[in-house]
């Protein structure tokens, strides 16, 4: 059982823990930014796909439908690769890098590109969720606001969208879970967020589990290291996502018509 003792040493190492905690911070940051931006972008796509179906505006409707279908039917990983290669990123200052706890401006660039990829991808899902919300608003609401002489913009902004958003709050929260999970895709390209950091630590677990005796005897990585370290990662993701899913369940229950 000395293997296990060594493994526990890994996750009681302050450096490792703070390294992982920082990773978690970036995971949450990427997900929150992606969710908020894709909420806006998704709403625009949804409105265009739903209501731009006549006259010259039709082109907008078609474009957003194409966007949504293309992103929904291709893997996020592909968009990560594409964004890391092609997405232009502003030049970030060293100051900003230090301010958010990253050592190099390259890392900030990576973070930015991952956010773009995740936002582009999540927007397509968001658009379909919001469309579902728009379709759930009763027809009478449209007719009533038109009969009051509201402009299309005012009607959407003040009458329709608030109701649509109210109806989809639980689904939006579940999407939040998915996006937090999806942020781990970034791990295949850069070592910034939690998943990538877990992967990095396990690859040099021999340095932390007490078996490292020097360059001549570099120690070994035990399977118990994988269990302990990944166990911690599973637990972290689980606590966040399960709490969200409990909120979702409560909201759904409350809203179910008696």
């Amino acid at each position: 059982m000395s293997d296990l003792k060594g493994s526990l040493m890994i996750i009681s190492n302050g450096d490792v823990l703070s390294y992982l905690a920082k990773g978690l911070m970036y995971t949450v940051l990427i997900s929150l930014v992606a969710i908020l931006l894709s909420l806006v972008f998704g709403a625009i796509l949804a409105l265009a796909r739903n209501y731009c179906n006549r006259g010259p505006k039709r082109i907008l409707g078609v474009l957003s439908a194409v966007y949504i279908e293309v992103f929904r039917n291709t893997p996020l990983m592909l968009w990560m690769f594409i964004c890391f290669l092609f997405c232009p990123a502003p030049v970030f200052s060293k100051k900003l890098a230090v301010a958010i706890g990253l050592t190099s401006t390259v890392d900030v660039k990576m973070l930015f590109k991952a956010m773009v990829a995740l936002t582009l991808f999540t927007s397509s899902v968001m658009a379909e969720i919001i469309r579902g919300g728009l379709n759930s608003v009763a027809h009478g609401q449209f007719e009533a606001s038109q009969s009051q002489g509201f402009s299309a913009f005012f009607m959407m902004r003040k009458i329709i969208l608030p109701q649509a958003f109210h109806n989809i709050v639980p689904t939006l929260l579940s999407q939040m879970i998915t996006t937090i999970k999806d942020s781990s895709y970034m791990a295949s390209l850069a070592t910034i967020e939690l998943m990538a950091r877990v992967k990095l630590i396990i690859s040099k677990a021999n340095k932390y589990n007490g078996t490292w005796l020097g360059p001549m005897n570099r120690g070994t990585i035990h399977v118990s290291d994988v269990f302990v370290l990944f166990g911690l990662a599973f637990l972290t993701y689980f606590i966040i996502n399960f709490s969200l899913s409990l909120v979702v369940r409560r909201l759904k229950k409350k809203r179910k018509p008696a």
């Binding site: 039917n73 592909l78 937090i180």
Partner: protein
């Protein structure tokens, strides 16, 4: 982006087309076998959670919550490293079958559960009154009625399963995405980024889009049918979302 217009880059892609075909075959094989595993797990746990048996329900609940609330990439890596460091190295593609099967099994079990719950209670009572045992009732009376309800979300699950094979890249898989990436970074083929990503994306789209459309059409038909009937049913819609 300029490589999209470069004739030479396109030529490279064409010369090495076998890479993409092999990647596609690996992706389809992974998705196919994982789907079989996921269906077995999904139906078993779906039946568990509608069985009314407390322990079985708890098993299904714990399984579903664990797999739905942690990232697939983490699950893939975990399985891969556990096998690697315990000396039981399995081919990456087998790691793919297992981890994707386990993950989607959780989602499919929720689909099956909501499908069974959508069958009116009277059907269960009627089957019992006719002397059906549990398995006979499920086999002949209940499950056939859930098919219509679970087909649309099932279609969506297959689409995400195909897309999720891309997770195997992180442990050095040979799926379509990994093959594409190895192609654009390979010694002889480096640089043909634009065409390679375009081709790879197009292949995914050509496979997934018809499936998605089929799911949409099934769902529309289902809604029409349930709308025509008195509102005693709910559709299996709730479990459809998510990857």
């Amino acid at each position: 982006m300029s490589t999209v217009l470069s004739a030479r880059a396109w030529e490279t892609v064409w010369t090495y087309r076998a890479t993409f075909v092999q990647g596609l075959l690996n992706t389809l094989e992974t998705a196919g076998i994982a789907l079989v595993i996921a269906l077995i797990i999904g139906f078993t746990l779906g039946l568990f959670s509608t069985s009314g048996h407390k322990a079985l329900k708890a098993v299904a609940r714990v399984y579903v919550e664990f797999f739905q609330n942690t990232p697939l990439i983490l699950q893939v890596c975990f399985l891969y490293y556990v096998l690697a460091y315990s000396g039981m190295g399995l081919p990456v593609i087998v790691v793919g079958f297992i981890s994707l099967g386990l993950y989607h099994g959780a989602y499919i079990s929720e689909v099956v559960r909501s499908g069974i719950e959508a069958v009116p209670a009277g059907q269960f009572d009627a089957a019992h009154s006719q002397g059906f045992e549990y398995f006979g009732m499920m086999r002949y009376i209940i499950l056939p009625q859930t098919v219509r309800i679970i087909l649309p979300p099932m279609g969506n699950q297959v689409v995400s399963l195909i897309k999720n094979t891309s997770c195997l890249y992180i442990v050095g898989g040979a799926d379509l995405i990994a093959s594409t990436y190895n192609f654009v970074t390979g010694d002889n083929t480096a640089g043909a980024y634009g065409p390679a990503y375009l081709v790879s994306g197009l292949i995914f789209f050509v496979i997934c889009y018809p499936l998605s459309m089929l799911a949409v059409r099934w769902e529309a038909r289902l809604k029409k049918r349930t709308a025509a009937r008195p509102a005693t049913q709910t559709t299996g819609e709730e479990a459809t979302r998510d990857e």
